[in-house]
C-alpha cells in the first residue's frame, strides 16, 4: 500500500506518462474491436433477434408485430410445453448424473497402471470423435424395433422372447435416448477428469497412505476435494450441452412417442420451422435461458467457495 501511494505521487505530475497511458488505452481498445465486432455479429445479434422474435407473432414468410407476452401466456397454458420442460429436466439430470458417475469411474480406472493404457484412452475418445448424427443413426439401428442387435442378443441368450420396443414405448424411449446421450457424453467427462487426476501429485497419495488412509479414504479426502473445482466446470458444460441437446433426439425419436422425448430444444424447432410459428418457437428457446443461467450461477458460486485455491496472503 505504502509503496503504491509513493508511486502515485511520483507518477501523477509527469505529463508525458499520462498521455502515453491515454494512447495505450486507445490502442487497447482498437485491438479489441475485431473481437467486439465478432461477438456482436455472431452472438449478440442472433440472441437479440431470438429474444425479439419471442415477443412477436412472426411466421415463416410473414413479418410479425409486437404482441408483448402473448407467446409466453400461451406457453404457460400449454401442457405440451410443460411436458417438454419436464422431459428436458429428466433428460438433463439423469444423463448428467450417469455421465458424472461413469466418467469419474472410467477416469479412475484409466489413471491406474493398466496394460494397453494408451489404447484404452484412445478408444474412450471414439464416441466423442464420431459426429453426433452418425452415432445417432447407429443408435437408431441399435434401437430398431425389428433388427435391434440388443434384442437379438438377448433373444439368442434366451433372456427375452420378443424384441424390445425401444423407441415405441414412452418409458423405454426416454431411457434409450438418455443411454445414447450418456454414451456420447462420457468421453468428455472421463478425459477431462483424467487430466485432472493426473495433476494430483502422487506424493499426496503417499503422504495420505502413511497417514493411515485406506483407498476409499484417499478418494474421499484427497482425490474428490482436489478434483472438485474441475468437476464443477466439467459438469456445468455437460449440463449445458445436455440441456440444449437436439441432434440425438431429432434423429432417434423426433420427440415421440406421444411426445415422451420432446425436449425444449426439439419442441422449439418443431413449432418454429415445420410448424412455421417462428415467434412461438423463439419464445420456447428463450424460456431455456433461465435454466441455463441457473446452471451457470450454481457452478460459479460452487467454484468461488474454494478458498484454498487462491494463493497469496488472505
Amino acid at each position: 500500500m505504502a509503496d503504491a501511494a509513493v508511486q502515485d505521487r511520483i507518477l501523477l505530475p509527469s505529463e508525458p506518462k499520462a498521455s502515453l497511458l491515454k494512447s495505450r488505452g486507445m490502442v487497447g481498445f482498437l485491438f479489441m474491436l475485431p473481437a467486439l465486432a465478432f461477438l456482436l455479429i455472431f452472438l449478440t445479434y442472433p440472441l437479440g433477434l431470438g429474444v425479439w422474435l419471442g415477443f412477436t407473432d412472426t411466421r415463416i414468410g410473414r413479418d410479425g408485430i409486437w404482441i408483448g407476452l402473448e407467446n409466453y401466456q400461451l406457453l404457460w397454458e400449454d401442457s405440451l410445453f410443460w411436458l417438454s420442460v419436464f422431459n428436458t429436466l429428466l433428460y438433463t439430470i439423469t444423463a448428467s448424473i450417469l455421465k458424472f458417475a461413469l466418467g469419474l469411474w472410467l477416469a479412475l480406472i484409466l489413471n491406474e497402471h493398466l496394460p494397453f493404457k494408451s489404447f484404452f484412452r484412445a478408444v474412450l475418445l471414439l464416441p466423442w470423435v464420431v459426429p453426433t448424427v452418425l452415432s445417432a443413426i447407429a443408435f437408431w439401428w441399435i434401437y430398431d424395433s425389428q433388427f435391434s442387435v440388443i434384442s437379438w442378443g438377448l433373444i439368442e441368450l434366451g433372456i427375452i422372447d420378443t424384441p424390445i420396443n425401444f423407441l415405441g414405448d414412452m418409458e423405454n424411449a426416454r431411457a434409450s435416448v438418455i443411454a445414447a446421450n450418456v454414451w456420447r457424453g462420457i468421453p468428455f467427462v472421463a478425459i477431462t477428469l483424467l487430466a485432472g487426476l493426473q495433476t494430483i501429485s502422487p506424493s499426496l497419495h503417499e503422504a495420505a497412505t502413511l497417514d493411515g488412509a485406506t483407498g476409499w479414504q484417499r478418494f474421499r479426502h484427497i482425490t474428490l476435494p482436489m478434483l472438485s473445482p474441475l468437476i464443477a466446470v466439467v459438469m456445468t458444460f455437460s449440463v449445458l450441452f445436455t440441456f440444449t441437446d437436439f441432434q440425438l433426439i431429432y434423429v432417434l425419436t423426433r420427440g415421440g412417442p406421444l411426445n415422451a422425448t420432446h425436449l425444449m430444444a426439439t419442441l422449439s424447432f418443431q413449432r418454429a420451422i415445420p410448424g412455421g410459428q417462428l415467434g412461438e418457437g423463439a419464445a420456447i428457446a428463450v424460456a431455456m435461458i433461465p435454466f441455463l443461467l441457473a446452471a451457470i450461477l450454481f457452478s460459479y458460486f460452487g467454484l468461488q467457495r474454494r478458498k484454498w485455491q487462491q494463493g497469496g496472503a488472505d
Binding site: T209, L210, W308
Partner: protein, 350 residues
C-alpha cells in the same frame, strides 16, 4: 521409538538393479543421514523403509518386527517429503490433524496434539491458513508438524531442505536438529548435501551407485575416508587429489616430492593417489613453491587456488594472505593428515 535394521536390501526395477545389497543398523533414537550424489538410490532406500516401494531382496526391521510385507500405515513411521506433500485443500490445522482424524481420535485429543506441535514449531498463528498462503519455510514446518503429531516410531525425511533458500536451509537445519534432541525419535534423513550430513547426523551413511561406501560418525568420515569416493564427497571445498607413486622419500608427483608420514612398506613403488584437504596446508618457509591463480578471502579464512607443477590445488588458510595472482607462495601439507589411496581400487592404504 525403535531401532531400524536394514539387512542386505536390494531393489530392482524390472531387470535394472538400483540398490545392490545395503545393510545399515540404526539405533533407537539415532539421527542417521543417507548422503550421496543424485541418483544413487537414497530415496529408493528410504521409500522401502516407509513401505512405498517393494523390497526386492533382503530384510528391513523396525523394532523387533520384519516389515517387508507390512503395509505402510502399519509401520508407524512418518515421512516428510521433498515437496512437502501438504494437502492443499486443508488448513494447516487440518493437515496436521489428518492422521489422527483417520484414526478417529477424540476431538479434544486431536486439538491438544495439534496445538502442542504447532507450539513447538511456531505455527500457532498460522493454523487457519491454507498451504498456498505459507512461505517455503512455513510449509516445511507444517510437514514436520504433520509428522510430529503422529508420535511415530521413526521419522523419515527425504531431502526436506532442498527447496529452501540457502539462509533458511541453515536455520531449518538447526531447528530439525533441536527437534530431534527434544523428541529423541529415531530419524533417517536423506540428502545430497554433505554439509547437511556433517552438521546434523549422529551417523552418516555415504551411498554411491546403490551401495554403501562408508558409514560412521561425521568426523570419522572426514578424518579417515575409506576410499577415494568418500574422500572426494565429504568436505568442502573438496580434498585435493594428486596422482603419483609412493617412494621411500615421500610421494612423487612429476618432479615434486610431497611429504608422507607413514606409508605402509608394501606400498612403496606403487601408483597411488595422494589426498590432502585444503585446510591442511600451512604457509611455511620450507614448503613447496606454488603459483597463485586465484585468492578468495571470506573474512574468516582465505581460499587460494594455486598451481603446483602441472596440478591445480586448493588451499584454505586461517590467516589472511596478500599474495596476488601470478606470485609464488610456499605451502606445506601436514604429513600427519595425508590420505593415501590405491590407484586401482581407490581404497585407503595408510
Amino acid at each position: 521409538m525403535a531401532s531400524v535394521e536394514i539387512r542386505d536390501v536390494r531393489k530392482a526395477y524390472g531387470s535394472q538393479q538400483v540398490i545392490h545389497g545395503v545393510s545399515i543398523d540404526i539405533q533407537d533414537g539415532e539421527f542417521v543421514i543417507l548422503v550421496g550424489p543424485s541418483g544413487c538410490g537414497k530415496s529408493t532406500l528410504l521409500r522401502m523403509v516407509a513401505g512405498l516401494e517393494n523390497i526386492t531382496g533382503g530384510e528391513i526391521r523396525i523394532g523387533p518386527r520384519v516389515v517387508n510385507n507390512v503395509a505402510p500405515k502399519e509401520r508407524d513411521i512418518a515421512m516428510v517429503f521433498q515437496n512437502y506433500a501438504l494437502y492443499p485443500h486443508m488448513t494447516v490445522a487440518d493437515n496436521m490433524a489428518f492422521s489422527l482424524m483417520l484414526k478417529k481420535a477424540p476431538k479434544a485429543e486431536i486439538a491438544e496434539k495439534v496445538n502442542r506441535a504447532a507450539e513447538i514449531l511456531g505455527l500457532t498463528p498460522l493454523l487457519d491458513r491454507y498451504p498456498r498462503q505459507l512461505s517455503g519455510g512455513q510449509r516445511q514446518r507444517v510437514a514436520m508438524g504433520r509428522a510430529i503429531v503422529r508420535d511415530p516410531q521413526v521419522f523419515l525425511f527425504d531431502e526436506p531442505l532442498s527447496n529452501l533458500d540457502a539462509k533458511l536451509r541453515v536455520s531449518m537445519r538447526g531447528e530439525i536438529k533441536a527437534l530431534h534432541q527434544r523428541l529423541k525419535t529415531t530419524t533417517v534423513y536423506v540428502t545430497h548435501d554433505q554439509i547437511e550430513a556433517m552438521t546434523m547426523a549422529d551417523k552418516i551413511v555415504v551411498m554411491h551407485d546403490g551401495i554403501v561406501e562408508q558409514m560412521g560418525a561425521p568426523l570419522d568420515l572426514y578424518d579417515r575416508p575409506v576410499n577415494l569416493f568418500v574422500a572426494g564427497f565429504i568436505g568442502s571445498p573438496a580434498m585435493n587429489v594428486l596422482e603419483g607413486t609412493i617412494d621411500s622419500s615421500g610421494f612423487r608427483v612429476g618432479n615434486m616430492v610431497l611429504p608422507v608420514q607413514s606409508a605402509p612398506a608394501a606400498s612403496v613403488g606403487r601408483p597411488a593417489y595422494y589426498g590432502i584437504r585444503p585446510e591442511h596446508f600451512q604457509l611455511r618457509a620450507d614448503g613447496m613453491p606454488v603459483e597463485v591463480i586465484v585468492v578468495e578471502p571470506t573474512g574468516s579464512e582465505t581460499q587460494v587456488v594455486a598451481r603446483a607443477g602441472h596440478e591445480e590445488i586448493i588451499c584454505v588458510f586461517r590467516e589472511r594472505i596478500s599474495a596476488r595472482p601470478g606470485e609464488t607462495i610456499l605451502v606445506a601439507p601436514d604429513p600427519a593428515l595425508v590420505h593415501l589411496f590405491d590407484r586401482d581400487s581407490g581404497r585407503r592404504i595408510n
